[in-house]
């Protein structure tokens, strides 16, 4: 990030009844080191917690992780809830192991994009990829 500028604020968490904590801890670590301001709401987080945290901190981006396979159910309606809460144009990224089973990712991507996520990532995406995309989307050099 360009020094002196306002830090990009990212709400980070693992959605639903998902307890996979390791990737979350690493993402917090890496995003923070990159210079972002990370609000990590951790595992077992309902949609509401993401949205409340984003509103409270006036965040720029919500990064949702879902590892355990219920991502499709857990993420449904999240965009609508954002709209209701008045942050309808919030950037929403989602990644992890989004659906149950090993599936062709183009299909999975479509499902999540139709749900209103701006970006959806396949299993094992590296944090660097995420950082690169954030910089692209938020015009950070």
């Amino acid at each position: 990030m360009i020094a002196g500028k306002r830090k990009l604020k990212i709400v980070l968490g693992v959605i639903g009844s998902d307890v996979h904590a390791v990737g979350n801890k690493i993402l917090e670590n890496v995003l923070t080191e990159e210079g972002f301001k990370v609000i990590n709401i951790g595992v077992l987080s309902p949609q509401e917690d993401f949205i409340n945290a984003a509103i409270e901190t006036a965040a720029d981006l919500i990064v949702v992780s879902s590892l355990y396979g219920h991502g499709e159910i857990d993420c449904r309606g999240m965009r609508e809830k954002c709209i209701e809460a008045g942050i309808g144009d919030m950037q929403l990224y989602v990644g992890g192991n989004l659906v149950v089973g090993k599936k062709d990712f183009t299909e999975v991507k479509k499902i999540f994009e139709e749900m209103g996520f701006n970006r959806a990532y396949p299993p094992g995406t590296s944090p660097q990829q995420l950082i690169d995309d954030i910089k692209k989307d938020f015009n950070i050099k």
Partner: protein, 483 residues
Amino acid sequence: MKNIRWEEEEFLKKRKEVLKSWPTGSQVDLEESINYHRAIPKNKVSKWVLKKAKNEGRTLTQPRAGVALIDNHIELLRFLEKEGMADLLPTTIDSYTRLNKYEEAQKGIEESIRLGRSMLNGFPAVNHGVKACRKVCESVNVPVEVRHGTPDSRLLAEITLAGGFTDFEGGAITYNIPYSKNVPIETSIRNWQYVDRLIGYYQDNGVSINRESFGPLTGTLVPPCISHAVSIAEALLAAAQGVKSISVGYGQCGNLIQDIAAIKLLSIITEQYLKEFGFTDILLTTVFHQWMGGFPKDEAEAFAVISWGAAAAGLGGATKVIVKTPHEAYGIPTKEANALGLRATKQILNMVKDQKLKEIELIEKEIDIIKEETKSILEAVLNLGKGDIAIGLVRGFEAGVIDIPFAPSRFTKGKIIPVRDDHGAIRFLNIGNLPFSKKIRNFHKKKLEERGKVENRKPSFKMVVDDIYAISKGYLVGRPENK
């Protein structure tokens, strides 16, 4: 709360409450279930199959598997029995059920029917009820175990045991700390005492249900002494409630010497503690989990990780090995991928089963280390509990003399930080509040200095992150580039 056997009255009172927590609870009739179990042939009862394997020195295979709908789940298990030659079968429970969210599980069932594919990551046994469970168990020819990750599994236990399952995984620590954020240890101990007492009740009536502790915890660089201390504690908790068939588990570290040492020691030291506390008539068996951390995406590489785990399990003499699949890095495996993992595992087990690795000083030395560490932890825990392991666990976790790395729970300090040494064995970068002797502390320090020197960097959290990724990137030790 203490580690003593619940009074019958207290137990029966609690049961009424528990069974009311979801409509299917009313399907449970304990006396009828006991009779039902009595009629199950021995080759379908975990305890007997485990006992036989232990006596013969064989290592049994067991997959993880569970889907949302009953018929699909049965098809899946049959497939794994036939095509995977699984010696033991599982029924893995979905994550909503694990958190007692039966309404969401119900939604998952309905969505799965609607979309024609499993929308749940496991089998929602509570929602399906007793009869469905019996149908599942009756449809195969080997024992079936309930495998989950449920801090409060009282209703799940009631329904699945009435449903004919003969083995139940978990424990107050192993199914709390890695699986939840806000459940106090005292609560999960109480809830698991209930489960153990329920199994003790079956046992009092001549029905053996095996109780397995979930050794791997968070699956992420867990040092053997941590999981050993926890496993032993859970064995003592179960035994106190009258459980007579106990399996203790351990998740592969990846260093062969450490893995063999750990699994060998696990059975010896658990027996010792059980004896020390007066439990002399327990069938104790061991479970080895193939690598529980992040897997490589490439299926050939995944096969290699699976095979390496199978080798350590077999050479270490575990009673059973829990098998991963070539889909591990992606998602719940198809039944075909699951069977592939099982067959690769069986091939290795059969190839190593007659091989004895004896007279290995390195293993003996490693055993001594893990033993001393484990004993220090348990001693401190028992001291804090004034000899009572239940109280000791609550206070011990609070004090951090027992601690679990990378866990979501706020009831473990999370101060310890594990990292690999130069040979890939898991050591401590940060010992947190663990009550280790100076000798042990120095041992770990020296080990990490050794690695630091080779990699020309100070041991740090960066090294830990590298280790977390290492196996998925094709290595055991997470070296910096070009090392």
